[in-house]
């Protein structure tokens, strides 16, 4: 610690702190533009110049390191003169277009100009005009407003991991620009809008639609991936106008992924595939808009009839993992009240053999913030950058600090992280590959190897890659293994789980699951899984579709896109006598299979709770009133419970539901445990033929984001292709760019594409997409032939 004095106040600050950090500690504000606590120092805007005793020139507070006894004056004549001088320079070429600038009202330049600028400019020369750039569908540019603080440049290079913007030319002609002909395609690009201190980078979907001071601000929680990013939802007249990050250092820091930031557009979708705003029932094959009481009666009757005729077990409940804790809790209670144990939210999971063997609720295995403290990591089966953009960002920073990150996966996507080692194998060999890592670690540790592992077919996988990963892992002090979405959706997910557990045990480290969805932990807490109440009696998400039920309750999901086998789901729903759908959205598929459509609120129109991947309980209120006749799903379920005479449905508020589900209001849920017992690793499985590697593209992962138009125009939303490496293409006699017929459960016509990051014999075809759902299972073997 060193002692310094700022404006006459003495304070202790940590060694190596900068003056601006010290001033913040004191609550003193030093004006600045280029400085940002998460970015490297640039010291180029010069707005933060302050006076330091015995230093003849004003010094930038952002880049000056404190020394013991330093005396700093932030408001002395020298400091103020320097700050005013810089402000004058910043303004001479800045257009006076605040009245038409989206940044107006939340512009740092505008704010600081009030405090540090003259009322009239002394600049009488021609002003600079800078050509605008096309950065893609999300970020809009007005480059004449740019003050060249280069925050955006540093963000792309340091946080997003790829320098997609640079400062070209020099002097007064400097311009921030992307590479020639390129846009900014990072999944974190929206943060540029927040970082830009002026109106040079603004939100393309939002711009010109509202002034910032017209908007109401509501805290909320992201309904997408398992991180549970904290949001500020901004509304005007009960319409969500935009979404901004709510800073939470433990979760999303000050960032949001583009999915979290721009998916709100889906809340306002109005086309045939858009919001469902009125209850509807199908009568004689015709859809009719009806009153709520009619629709609810209809739904209750349908379910009661099936329960009476075929028994409760003839009903299946498919819940979206993006539904709130309250919704899931009431849905499972309703299902169980009807006598059905067939309830599941793990819609894309295909291996449930760990059910009944779990010690507790699977979770991240650590706090999110602890990820940054790890020095060795193995990420198994994850399209990390697209599935968990902000966790990928944390790993990127860890790797820069010296942590070693290894990857074991079926696709070698560029994570923009410096990887220590990687092992890429076809899906069926992932367990064997992980077993090899376990074996290698055991050898390095001098521990006897599990007999089952010594027999693992070493000839099938790249043993050297496994050894390299093992060498990295054993060299660390704080190790973790993280299982991604792909590992959780894997046909041998339980084996991967058991192996990761074994590996963590050998290493004295931790292991966990990267939660796929906002409530991947919450679903377990809400008991929305078979067997949670009555032993192992019910059918899981796959079983209840494989063995079709008479009736289904679908909450918030589009099973044809959100299930492990969309084709199978659609077939089962189509055959059912009654499908009751509670959804914020409608779709043609829904109109085909459903008997009754109940319009329920998306996250922005209801109160509720998400339990994020670290087990953190995050409740939120509605940001707007429900659209049209939409109602919060917990209320709909509560009334359905009453109509069906299910006991214990006397809730008046969502808080009551939460209290019952959680047994209080803890900060973190209890019962988190990734351990499994009695799951014998199954390492014999091998696939015969081409194996599908199915990713869930970032902007197709859930019903809300699928309806966000701007996101659908990004490069990440390109139509699925059949990707193969050069060897696989050659073996099939294919050339990249050719149309191919892909066959599995069904068929799809796709374009063959070269992807050097895939293992031999793998064909990568995205799931959750209308073009590919007919193929059926995400995890399958398939045929590929030229059309």
């Amino acid at each position: 610690m060193v002692e310094i004095e700022i404006d006459g106040k003495t304070l202790q600050v940590a060694d190596g702190s900068t003056l601006i950090e010290a001033a913040h500690q004191l609550g003193a504000y030093i004006p600045h533009f280029c400085y940002h606590k998460k970015l490297s120092l640039a010291a180029n805007c010069r707005m933060c110049l302050v006076q330091i005793e015995k230093v003849p020139k004003p010094m930038p507070a952002c880049a000056t390191i404190v020394t013991n006894g330093m005396k700093v004056f932030t408001h002395s004549e020298m400091a103020i003169k320097a700050q005013r001088a810089v402000m004058e320079f910043l303004l001479i070429n800045h257009p006076l277009d605040c009245p038409i600038c989206d940044q107006g009202g939340e512009c740092r330049l505008q704010d600081l100009a009030v405090g540090y600028a003259e009322s009239a400019s002394k600049y009488g020369e021609e002003k600079r005009v800078v050509p605008d750039k096309n950065l893609g569908p999300l970020v809009s540019t007005d480059m004449s407003r740019c003050i060249n603080c280069a925050r955006c440049v540093r963000f792309t290079a340091e946080i997003a991991g790829m320098m997609e913007l640079g400062q070209s030319f020099r002097g007064e002609r400097v311009e921030i620009m992307p590479f020639n002909g390129k846009t900014v395609d990072s999944e974190l690009s929206g943060n540029l809008i927040d970082l830009c201190p002026v109106g040079a980078l603004t939100s393309k979907p939002f711009r010109f639609s509202a002034r910032s001071w017209e908007l109401s601000r509501r805290k909320s929680v992201s309904p997408h991936d398992g991180l549970g990013s904290n949001l500020i939802v901004q509304t005007r007249r009960d319409k969500v106008m935009r979404v901004l990050p709510l800073e939470n250092e433990d979760i999303n820091e000050c960032w949001l992924s583009d999915k979290e930031r721009f998916s709100y557009q889906g809340l306002n979708s109005q086309d045939d595939n858009g919001r469902l705003t009125k209850p509807m029932v199908k009568q004689g094959g015709e859809w009719k808009e009806v009153d709520w009481n009619v629709a609810l009666d209809y739904a209750a009757h349908a379910l009661r009839d099936v329960a009476k005729t075929h028994g409760g077990a003839a009903i299946g409940g498919l819940l979206s993992p993006h539904a709130t804790l309250e919704e899931m809790y009431l849905a499972q209670k309703l299902m169980r009240g009807l006598g059905s144990e067939n309830i599941d939210f793990r819609l894309r999971q295909s291996d449930f053999s760990a059910d009944g063997h779990r010690h507790g609720t699977p979770w991240l295995g650590m706090k999110i913030a602890d990820i940054g403290k790890l020095d060795r990591l193995l990420v198994v089966g994850s399209f990390l950058r697209k599935d968990h953009p902000l966790i990928a960002q944390r790993l990127r920073q860890s790797a820069k600090r010296g942590a070693q990150v290894c990857v074991l996966h079926s696709a070698d996507d560029d994570l923009l992280i410096n990887l220590e080692a990687r092992a890429i194998a076809v899906p069926s060999q992932l367990p064997a590959m992980l077993a090899q890592v376990v074996k290698a670690v055991a050898e390095l540790k001098g521990v006897a190897t599990d007999a089952a592992l010594t027999t693992v077919g070493a000839g099938l996988v790249d043993v050297n890659a496994a050894k390299k990963i093992a060498a990295s892992l054993v060299s660390g002090g704080n190790v973790a293994i993280l299982l991604g979405n792909f590992a959780q959706q894997h046909r041998q997910a339980a084996t991967l789980n058991a192996l990761a557990q074994q590996l963590a045990g050998l290493l004295g480290g931790r292991f966990g699951f990267l939660g796929e969805a906002a409530n991947s932990v919450g679903g377990y807490v809400a008991k929305a899984v078979p067997g949670a109440v009555n032993g192992n009696a019910g059918l899981n998400a796959v079983a209840m579709l494989k063995d079709p039920r008479q009736a289904y309750v679908v909450l918030g999901a589009e099973p044809e896109l959100d299930c492990a086998d969309g084709a199978q789901a659609l077939a089962a729903l189509g055959k059912a006598a009654a499908v009751v759908v509670l959804s914020p959205f409608k779709s043609q598929a829904m109109l085909d299979y459903a008997a009754v459509l109940l319009p329920v609120s998306p996250f922005s129109e209801t109160s509720g709770t998400f339990v994020n991947t670290e087990g953190r309980v995050q409740s939120f209120h509605a940001a707007t009133k429900p659209l049209g006749e939409t109602r919060p799903a917990w209320k709909v379920l509560r009334v359905l419970g009453n109509l069906l005479d299910v006991a214990g449905f006397e809730f008046n508020t969502s808080e009551d539901v939460r209290a019952e589900a959680l047994g209080g209001m803890p900060e973190f849920v209890s019962g988190l445990d990734n351990g499994v017992a009695g799951v014998a690793p199954n390492l014999t499985a091998s696939a015969n033929g081409l194996e599908r590697v199915a990713d869930v593209p970032i902007h197709f992962a859930d019903p809300l984001v699928r309806r966000a138009p701007a996101l659908q125009q990004t490069r990440d939303s390109a139509a699925p292709t059949a990707r193969m490496n050069a060897a696989t293409l050659a073996k099939l006699g294919l050339v990249a760019g050719e149309r191919v017929k892909v066959g599995a459960g069904g068929t799809a016509i796709l374009t063959a594409e070269l992807d050097a990051g895939l293992p031999d014999g793998a064909v990568r075809i995205a799931a959750a997409h209308a073009d590919t759902f007919a193929l059926g299972a995400m995890s399958t073997v398939l045929t590929v032939e030229k059309v």
Partner: protein, 443 residues
């Protein structure tokens, strides 16, 4: 152009044969590489070398005049990876001494750099050569080949334990890359933008490693200092202004060129060596240390001696030793417009005051020169320069500001005349006469 005309030739001793005297053979014949051999044979300690350089009073010849020995002593001893970098990014208008040093005597720079590498414990060096003098870059490469072939560079030099290799790197002519940290960024393959200091290169230099970076002339002086001894070198010049210095004399003199004189030589003597004023015209003004140094009126300059203190006392800087001589045919407004355009063009653009201010200065001076000046412009220019100076990462903003302040301060009436009468005080015909394109008296 006069090649040399010196009082006590030292650095320029090898220049007498012009382009025929640069090779290794010639350099060795002049006693070249003897100091390196002596150091390696005697296993001289690094401290002894640095002490000798300190004793010599050698100050950085790039313009800032920082004591070289002291700079070397800042290098951390224990660091495993260190660099020596030579700054030949000679971009300051008026300066052309390093160009000729590398052209006529490249091995003196190579030997100086090897000795510096030995002294600071670096195994690798780079010479960053300005990207407009490509023939010099090729010359230096040729000299490097010779030195490597002769065993002066590479592994275990001359059978000693010391290994050092040296590489040439050329820029593309950006002035700001002559700023030492901008230069380091440029070698690293990045855009040439100066870094915020501290940390200084001695701690965080090339590729983040401790780096000693000196001017070409500074390195060239090293073998001579070690040859004659620090004391003898110091005694060539004045106390605290050791040795000789190259001055690039340009402008309205009869024999523009590089002149090596001991520090402290009167300016009048230097002017005489350069053949006096062209066409016998009257001296009007001198920029004594490269275009960023404030201009001095004739009567002040004629009283100065060529050393750091004397020039500083007169209100300017010795800088890189580029002496720009202007006679009575020069319009000071036009001269300043040209200089201001240079800094406007060469600002790297990262710091606000320089990016915005350099263009502002140029535009106002341009307006005045073109008869559109306003009464308040001179105060405005002074205010803008005041707002620029001392507020940026590197000194380019100051370099842009100094000429403006110097010209206005010393030739204010000429600027006022321009604003008031919307034309030059110096008749355009006279101006044309003074420009090098017309022979004196031809008009």
């Amino acid at each position: 152009m006069a090649l040399i005309d010196t009082i006590n030739p030292l650095l320029t001793t090898g220049w007498s044969k012009g382009d025929a005297g640069w090779s290794l053979k010639d350099y060795e014949a002049r006693g070249g590489y003897a100091q390196l051999k002596r150091i390696l044979a005697n296993k001289m300690s690094s401290d002894d070398i640095i002490a000798e350089v300190k004793k010599s009073g050698l100050r950085g010849r790039g313009g800032a005049g920082f004591p070289t020995g002291l700079k070397w002593s800042f290098m951390p001893k224990a660091a495993p990876e260190k660099y020596v970098v030579c700054n030949t990014d000679e971009g300051e208008p008026g300066t052309f001494k390093d160009r000729d040093l590398l052209r006529y005597d490249p091995h003196s720079v190579i030997e100086g750099m090897i000795i510096a590498g030995y002294a600071v414990g670096a195994a690798r060096g780079y010479n960053y050569i300005h990207g407009e003098i490509f023939e010099i870059y090729r010359r230096f490469e040729a000299a490097l080949d010779e030195a490597r072939a002769a065993g002066y560079l590479g592994q275990r030099i001359l059978g000693s334990d010391f290994s050092f290799d040296l590489f040439a790197h050329h820029g593309w002519g950006a002035y700001v890359c002559g700023e030492e940290t901008g230069l380091l960024e440029s070698i690293e393959g990045k855009k040439g933008q100066p870094r915020f200091k501290p940390p200084f290169p001695a701690n965080f230099g090339l590729y983040g490693k401790p780096t000693t970076i000196n001017n070409t002339e500074t390195f060239a002086a090293i073998p001579f200092i070690l040859g004659m001894g620090g004391d003898a070198y110091l005694n060539l010049g004045k106390p605290n202004n050791g040795g000789t210095k190259l001055f690039s004399v340009s402008g309205h003199v009869n024999r523009p060129g590089n002149y090596e004189v001991p520090m402290g030589t009167p300016f009048a003597k230097l002017l005489e060596m350069a053949g006096g004023m062209r066409g016998g015209r009257q001296l009007k003004a001198v920029i004594p240390g490269g275009s960023s140094a404030p201009v001095l009126p004739a009567e002040v300059m004629m009283e100065c001696t060529m050393d750091y203190e004397s020039i500083a006392k007169a209100g300017s800087m010795l800088g890189s030793g580029a002496v720009i001589v202007m006679d009575e045919t020069v319009c000071m407004v036009k001269a300043l417009e040209r200089l201001s355009y240079f800094y406007y063009e060469e600002s790297c653009g990262q710091c606000t005051p320089c990016r915005e201010g350099s263009g502002w200065l140029y535009r106002v001076v341009h307006r005045i020169e073109h008869g559109e000046g306003r009464a308040e412009d001179l105060d405005l220019l002074n205010r803008v320069t005041d707002n620029m100076m001392g507020k940026t990462i590197c000194a380019l903003a100051d370099a842009a500001a100094f000429p403006v302040r110097g010209f206005i301060k010393n030739f204010r009436s000429e600027f006022e005349y321009h604003i008031e009468h919307r034309k030059c005080l110096v008749d355009p015909e006279v101006q044309r006469m003074g420009s090098g394109f017309f022979k004196a008296g031809a008009a």
